[in-house]
Amino acid sequence: MKKWLVLVLSVLVVLSFAKVKIQFWHAMGGWRIELLQGMADEFMKLHPDIEVEVQYTGSYRDTLNKLIAAVKAGNPPHVVQIYDIGTQVMIDGEIAVPIQDLIDKDPTFDIGKFMPQVLNYYRINGKLYSMPFNSSNPILYYNKTLFKKAGLDPNHPPRTFDELLEYAKKLTIKDKDGNIVQSGITWPLHAWFFEQFMAVQNAPLVDNNNGRTGRPTKAIFNSEAGRRFFKLWYELSKNGWMINTKKEDWTGARQLFGSQKVAMLISSTSDVALMEKLAKENGFELGTAFLPRPKEAKSGGVVIGGGSLWIIGGHPKKEIDAAWEFVKFMASPQLQIKWHEGTGYFPIRKDAVEMLMNQGYYAEHPNHLTALLQLLLSVQNPNTNGAIIGAFPEVRDIIETAVEKMLNGEMSPEDALAWAEKEATKAIKEYNELYGY
């Protein structure tokens, strides 16, 4: 009897020591911290030999900075969530284990089940470096109740830039002093929308096919398409038909729309669930639509935004394997559905979409269908797959600065765009120089 006890104990001790510990860093704040912890707990239940330590590391920007610091200090995490525009920096940093290498070694994993629109974004030169995880794109939200009040057809959202201007004008109400009581539209002052509207018009941001066939050497967004969008933004703001937020103020824009101060909002599809709630609370009917496109522009589509999961190298093989199991689990259909329902980021897999469809989910949630259809109906080429730029964060800031200068009347739309292109080219060249290209 005693012998058995000793044996069982020693087995237990060995097992507990054999537990592989991995760290997972993410940038999803708020209620999503608990959601991700719950998902990791589920994983640990299925894999009792793996322990996942989940850590919220602040915004995307902070997470990338902390990762860089941790790599330099020699104790990087195993799995980390990095934003879309950090992809090139991560590849150039050469600190990650490309997901492609792990997929090639794992016959149980079928990448064919993933949506090509998502894979096209994260595949660089035909190689998948990270596992797509949370993906979204922008859609137009509109207040049907205010549409009716303004005498507009609530089932006919604006489809072109001209229509958007016309609608925004009709939806703007000013008091006798000329102060704005209600405005037509808003979107956060974020370069993401510039990128999206370039893709909608099937136009590239940088050379070498949007950086997809080679490293970009210069920005080329000072084009007809870029001017159209800058002029639209200028026209809307100048007349008070649009309210602008400060840089990257997503919450501010949402509040304006939720409090019915503006009738239309362009924001991420990851807000769908939140918007539906806001509409209910404030007693208005919500509609969603694709992004409007100028009549004369070519047909394009929207680009994926969001983040993906990277496995960081320099760990023992046992731990990398455990990290790979965890990443696979996070991208599995059940988990993707859970994630989708909890946040609004759409599922990145075909089978997850199929399961949701069979459950009648899309019939009940037409706004989620808008988000998904807009992506599925997008033309697939380098312009809509998204630009790959190493200096992307800086390029974004330059575009936002140019927009603010234009809105403040310091520069004309044409000059602002030309300035942004020149500065972006400079940033791209500096980045290339840093990496010796």
């Binding site: 920007r61 902070d62 990338l64 900075n65 860089i68 920096v89 002093d177 102060n179 704005i180 002052l189 309210i243 602008n244 937020t245 400060k246 840089k247 990257e248 103020d249 501010g252 509040q255 304006l256 409090s259 101060k261 200096a391 964060p393 800086e394 800031d397 936002e400 600065t401 140019a402 603010e404 200068k405 809105l407 403040n408 310091e410 940033a427 500096e430 840093l434």
Partner: protein, 246 residues
């Protein structure tokens, strides 16, 4: 790693953005320091007047000092929100105007200065108040008997007597506006509109932590370090000589 000599500094001082950031910093720090010093001096004078209810005023005035800069920034961005903020609500109610406090020139800079002054002022008030209570009553009495007006008394007697405190506060305020104003700017304007409210410290943050341009960012921090050395030197060198001690 490649050694590039002074290339980063060369680029820094040829970059229009950085020159603009230096100008913004000078305007912002200058205006904020002057405002803070005079406002806190007067508020301290008022608080020293033993009016009934002074402890309550004191408490209310000192609260901002206990709030973290990020919270202060958030608070002011709510109040100054052009559409749903309280400030604009009252402005449009009483004067019929509404102002884009945070997204338009030059109001964004006013908003930043206002919020920073509000945040730093209590610190100065505490020091002034302590100084005022240290001034012997007989001096004040003597001037009153000699027939000096209240205005004259403040500027010819009290303010000079407090000059060591003022000097110390100017130095401390320069430091806090140059360095710890970062959170207020980040929360309220993100350096915008354009780069209108981007100060040197905010530029450093952007280059180092947003754009990963470590080279340029290191050069910028060296520049800030030199500024600090100069300010500290002035404090220790002139502090002893030029300031009037009792």
């Amino acid at each position: 790693m490649i050694f590039v000599g002074l290339r980063n500094f060369d680029r820094l001082f040829h970059s229009e953005e950085y020159i603009r950031a230096i100008k913004t910093t000078v305007i912002y720090v200058g205006a904020s320091v002057i405002l803070t010093i005079f406002l806190s001096f007067f508020i301290a004078l008022l608080l020293n007047m033993k009016v009934p209810g002074t402890p309550i005023y004191k408490a209310l005035i000192f609260i901002p000092y206990a709030i973290s800069p990020a919270i202060a920034g958030t608070l002011w961005s709510f109040l100054l929100n052009p559409v749903v903020g309280h400030v604009n609500y009252f402005f449009s109610k009483f004067f019929g105007i509404s102002v884009d406090w945070i997204t338009a020139k030059p109001y964004a800079l006013y908003a930043i200065i206002f919020a920073s002054v509000w945040k730093v002022m209590p610190f100065d008030i505490i020091f002034y108040l302590a100084g005022l209570q240290d001034i012997p009553d007989d001096i004040i009495e003597a001037t009153t008997i000699d027939g000096a007006s209240a205005w004259k008394r403040i500027w010819k007697i009290i303010f000079p007597l407090l000059s060591p405190i003022t000097f110390y506060l100017v130095i401390m305020n320069i430091i806090s506006f140059m360095f710890s104003s970062f959170a207020i700017i980040d929360v309220m304007t993100r350096g915008g509109p354009g780069d209108y409210t981007t100060t040197m410290i905010y530029r450093l943050f952007l280059d180092a932590f947003a754009f990963q341009k470590t080279g340029i960012a290191s050069a910028e921090s060296v520049v800030l370090f030199l500024v600090m050395i100069v300010v500290t030197f002035i404090y220790f060198y002139f502090g002893e000589k030029r300031v009037h001690y009792q």
